[in-house]
Subunit: 716 residues, 2 copies
């Protein structure tokens, strides 16, 4: 790829970004778009702010939101969006620090060194844009060149810097997590564990079994329990009822408005209303029957939420193996009550086991099938090959601009489109894997998407240009560094373009919220009373964290091969920094609070990036016949992995459960709290299955117009 | 190898076995050998039984001991030698069951099938001993032969049978373990944990730190603690004192006897006595000084044994992460007081870390260096190659008997000699690795020896005949089954011979106790009063368990390739069954009690053997062009590993710590025990470092002749 092709891509994307930014600053001021751009700022009724009068200001782009996002302090973010948002923003600041450091080294030391090489061709200073991008990469240095020691030092320096930062961040977030725990009010999930595989003796119910066991073995700390019921049928009934109820209210409000217009139509509407009303009553009757069925012992699942009088009591019950048979009375920490993923509990142990295997197989299949679009995309960067495949394109591709768009922009755009569908698929796969709460599902999906991206974008791209047909080479572990050393630098220009297109566009479209915007535009004409369904969205961590981490991986692996990637990466990170802060203020509300449990994923990904980078460095130095450097790089991955091992020991346990010290201190503080009696009262029913709560739509005529708030809350 | 060579080997070894058995039944009746053959039956003074009068019976071989060993019940074994001995014997009975089953299939189905093949040559029934052993192996079947389905079925059947037995045994031993815990008296290690990395604030001691922490966070269960002191200097002083003291007592007893003979010599002796006595007093003075030094806070190690009022309290403290920093207040279960490996505690965290790395490197080096003797041994089985290397041997090797000895007997004898030195080396390596007790050291050494044996005997032998020079092939995982399929059957005759020589000889020499016998014969003339040093030996699990498991691996991998191995294996196991039972009755006393913690090693080794066997089967069926069978074998390792995963979940946790249920029940039983007050009193000092106990040799003149029993116990 020529510099000019890259410049084309940069031009297009800068234009797009400016366009998005301008449109955003205008559109967000239109009251009709408040739901899309500032849902968090709307008060629950959702209309108070809308009626602002029209003025010219609304049509002039402004930058006030940038200033607001910039000024947001970490404390404010913590108080409004929770620790997870803080951790998310710290991923970005962490990457910024790393790539600022690497950028200084890369641009001021490595780039001149690379340009000074003469392996490929001399750099053409008079017409910079006609140089191949490869001139700026390590490939331009000749074999055995002493200048490679600059790269060697850079590898060591950056590794040390990243490890230092990783340690510092892990420590910081651990401290934040403990502080957060100390400052949080008593919450049900701190006092509760989930017990599964409860053995039941003949003639006794799960409820009795749980009661007996915990009174016997945890008499001083046991408080109460809530057995889980098989409620999937009830859940589907409620869903039906909800749909019908919505239709009915819409009909009613429409008919109220139209009453004075079309009498004939009105009659029909009333009939329909009657019809739906009866149907709804019917369903509700079924729900009542089903609910009483479900409450019976026969429908009990062998799982229960068991609450304790103290956090320490719950933690002890969680950490200890309870029964002689470790597959019985299996304990795990309870999620927040509103975070529980209820559908899961209907499945039996065997179902969970099977679905886990199905998920693994599905992930593998998805990974393999995904190679097809990646292959096609790779074809685009090798124009010659494309001309061989599709001879009729030859004439078009000779036009410089088109060929530049095709090589510089199209490939990564197509890749990005395909990648868009991966996070929802992975989330779905995780949801059937047996996790008990939404946060675990997102965490697992986050991991899946991350590794999927690394394997399918990084490795597939790197090896398709040269040896995709030799994928089996991966079963030959000792040659991996050498193969990487050949293949990775060859794809430098593709990944530089990828950062520009995929990175820049994705952040600005994140700001612009294209899909929600389009969706709201489509929806508006069809629904007049959609306000009631309006819900503040939550950030899809499993989509955004892997994306940032993948750019981190690209930056770390390419910083010494092609330092030119770094400025583009820094622009991306700066954009992401402002935009995500803005989104946390205006758009996303936290749906759950894991208190920073996403950080270990970030840490692992960074360690993997480092080791991969070191393997590539080893391969490169071997190829460039600088065997002393290759030998000296060898201890680096070992040291990095030892560092990782230390961090696992030092920090990871705190991300799984809280230590005794912290729990006991917190319990003692509660001892003086007069509100605890009330808290315990609520705790007893905190983990009630929402499907089992009494909800009535039709019985009370008033409720048809404004249903009980509790019901509405439950249904969301 | 020809059948005749194997028969030679069988002949030699049978002869050796009979010789050993006969000699044993005579020698064990000689009072002078009681220490070697029946140390357990001697009463503490060690002389009461010795003075039996001479009679002819003592010179006639007898088989009474076989009957006694046979009749020993598991309960008796449990009560006299502990659960570890029971588990050890169950390894043998388990293997017997497996190979009886496999033997029936192998001999009555697979052997005739193999012989009926015609790939190599027709079997020569008229002169059986001139057939190559390969005729009896799977190599004799032609490609694509339908008869291979017999082998396929055998692989499935034996896998299923082994898995069933493994499950049953794991369950049985878990139950035994829990029963054993229930029936055992209260023991200090059940109430105690070891806490390491204790943080100490400035101006405070470790003792105060521990006290404060546990009174703060475990006020209701904490009982007492015992801080560990840096006592290595003291330990070496005590060692010196012990040596001197022994020399002194010997001198005294000699001079007492010789008093009336040589006056001149006597004077010299008395001078020497004085000299040693003074030296001893000197050392004791040093010991006293050192002891008072060691007791100071300055010599405190940041580790302490912390005892609790209940088993449950100790378990809770063990399972919970105590501090916000998980690398501080690190807890582990305490070993039995007499099992503690004190030298270890002197080392700091960094030392332990470094020594761990050193041990890993040493193990790798040992493994590589060991290939040299294995290579040489392999040369012996390929006579032609040997003749190429050493042309002068040509004339000798043409003699049939010599060539048969060389191919059939020498190789495995040499291997065995080299293998003899491995367990002590591995035990030494484990001891510097940072384990806190002898049982852990043996367990770790057991694992090391096992994997060393598998890699160095099995894989080195298998691949040296064909592709040792391609050892790097192991980095090419997908070709391993194919390579195994070629190489493993080729070494069948070597391993059959190995079972006969190494197996049979090792068990009978275990019975005969050659080394202790020779040692006692050498020692006798030089020491007249060695009785006081007499110590009942304990069984070296790290030597014997890997050996049995390795024969298990050979049996499982070769049963369908060369069923001829099975009868020899069964003979070996029967010998081992009788001999080890006899040794448990007469020789070995338990030194520690892990309550069956060796079993997971056995389980893992068996699972590995199964998967290896399945990989070989896959390779063989592919090679023999029976691709349908190869495909159908493929799910087998997956199923086996899933089974293993299930067993890990189902049984392993019980081998790490006892569950809450069991602990609480046991604690409640103690509630009614009037002896507990006394037990708690003893518990406080149970983990006192023996070096810090007061020992005096010289101060009391009487003690020179019969030292305080406490001192003697301590020194052993």
């Amino acid at each position: 790829m020529l510099v000019s092709a890259l410049l084309t891509s940069v031009g297009i994307n800068s234009g797009l970004c400016v366009l998005f930014f301008t449109l955003y600053s205008i559109l967000r001021k239109q009251p009709s778009n408040y739901e899309v751009y500032i849902p968090r700022l709307l008060d629950p009724e959702g209309k108070s702010k809308r009626r602002s009068s029209f003025n010219l200001e609304r049509l002039i782009p402004s930058t006030g939101w940038v200033k607001r996002a910039w000024k947001l302090s970490e404390e404010d973010l913590l108080s409004t969006s929770g620790l997870d948002a803080v951790v998310f923003m710290r991923i970005i600041t962490f990457s910024l620090k790393v790539f600022l450091f690497a950028g200084v080294i890369g641009i001021f030391v490595l780039l001149p060194v690379n340009c000074s090489g003469d392996q490929l061709q001399d750099i053409n200073f008079s017409d910079l844009s006609n140089n191949s991008l490869d001139v700026f990469t390590i490939s331009n240095l000749s074999n055995g060149s002493k200048r490679l020691w600059a790269h060697f030092s850079a590898v060591y320096l950056v590794t040390a810097f990243v490890c230092y930062l990783l340690y510092y961040e892990y420590k910081y977030i651990t401290a934040k997590r403990i502080d957060f725990f100390h400052s949080a009010k008593p919450q049900p999930h701190q006092f509760t564990i989930l017990v599964r595989s409860i053995p039941v003796s003949a003639g006794s119910s799960v409820r009795e079994s749980v009661e007996r066991f915990f009174l016997e073995y945890h008499p001083s700390t046991y408080l109460s329990h809530m057995v889980v019921h098989r409620s999937s049928k009830l859940q589907s009934l409620i869903k039906d009822a909800k749909k019908l109820y919505k239709r009915l209210t819409r009909l009613q409000s429409e008919s109220n408005r139209q009453k004075y217009r079309h009498v004939g139509l009105f009659r029909q509407k009333v009939d329909l209303e009657d019809h739906y009303g009866k149907k709804l009553e019917n369903i509700e009757e079924n729900m009542r029957l089903e609910r009483s069925d479900v409450s019976l012992a026969a429908e009990e699942v062998r799982a229960a939420f068991v609450s304790f009088k103290s956090r320490y009591g719950a933690a002890v019950a969680f950490h200890m193996q309870q029964s002689t048979n470790p597959t019985e009375w299996v304990t795990e920490l309870a999620p927040e009550p509103h975070d529980v993923y209820w559908p899961f509990f209907s499945s039996t142990f065997m179902k969970r086991w099977l679905s886990k295997i199905v998920v693994v197989v599905a992930c593998i299949l998805l990974t393999i099938l995904f190679l097809i679009p990646v292959l096609v995309v790779q074809g685009l960067t090798n124009l010659n090959q494309l001309e061989v495949w599709f001879p009729f394109l030859k004439s078009i591709l000779t036009i410089t601009f088109i060929s530049q768009v095709v090589t510089g922009y199209l490939p990564s755009l197509i890749l990005q489109m395909f990648l868009k569908i991966v996070p929802p698929i992975m989330e779905f796969l995780s949801s059937i894997q047996g996790y008990i709460c939404h946060s675990d599902i997102q965490k697992s999906a986050c991991n899946k998407v991350l590794w999927f991206t690394i394997w399918n974008i990084f490795f597939a791209t790197v090896f398709s240009g040269s040896i995709l047909y030799q994928v089996s080479i991966f079963l030959d572990p000792k040659n991996i560094p050498a193969k990487l050393g050949v293949a990775v630098p060859a794809q430098a220009s593709f990944f530089i373009a990828y950062v520009v297109t995929s990175g820049w566009t994705s952040t600005s479209s994140e700001l612009f919220r294209i899909i929600p915007l389009v969706w709201s535009l489509i929806k508006k004409p069809f629904s007049c009373c959609s306000d009631e369904e309006f819900e503040v969205p939550s950030i899809p961590y499993h989509r955004d964290i892997p994306r940032i981490l993948f750019f981190g991986l690209l930056g770390i692996t390419y910083f010494f091969l092609a330092p030119l990637i770094l400025p583009f990466l820094l622009v991306y990170l700066c954009l992401a920094y402002i935009i995500y802060r803005n989104q946390f203020i205006n758009v996303y509300a936290p749906k759950f609070e894991t208190a920073g449990k996403f950080w270990p994923i970030v840490h692992n990904s960074m360690i993997f990036s480092l080791v991969l980078m070191q393997a590539i460095a080893f391969g490169i130095f071997t190829l460039k016949k600088l065997s002393l450097a290759a030998t000296l790089v060898f201890p680096l991955p070992i040291l990095t992995l030892l560092f990782n091992e230390y961090c696992r020991k030092r920090f990871l346990p705190n991300f799984i459960a809280y230590p005794a010290e912290v729990l006991i201190k917190r319990d003692r503080e509660d001892g003086h709290d007069p509100n605890m009696a009330e808290f315990y009262e609520n705790l007893v029913t905190a983990y009630q299955d929402p499907a089992l709560l009494p909800i009535e739509f039709s019985s009370n005529p008033d409720s048809l117009r404004s249903p009980l708030i509790s019901a509405a809350q439950v249904l969301h």
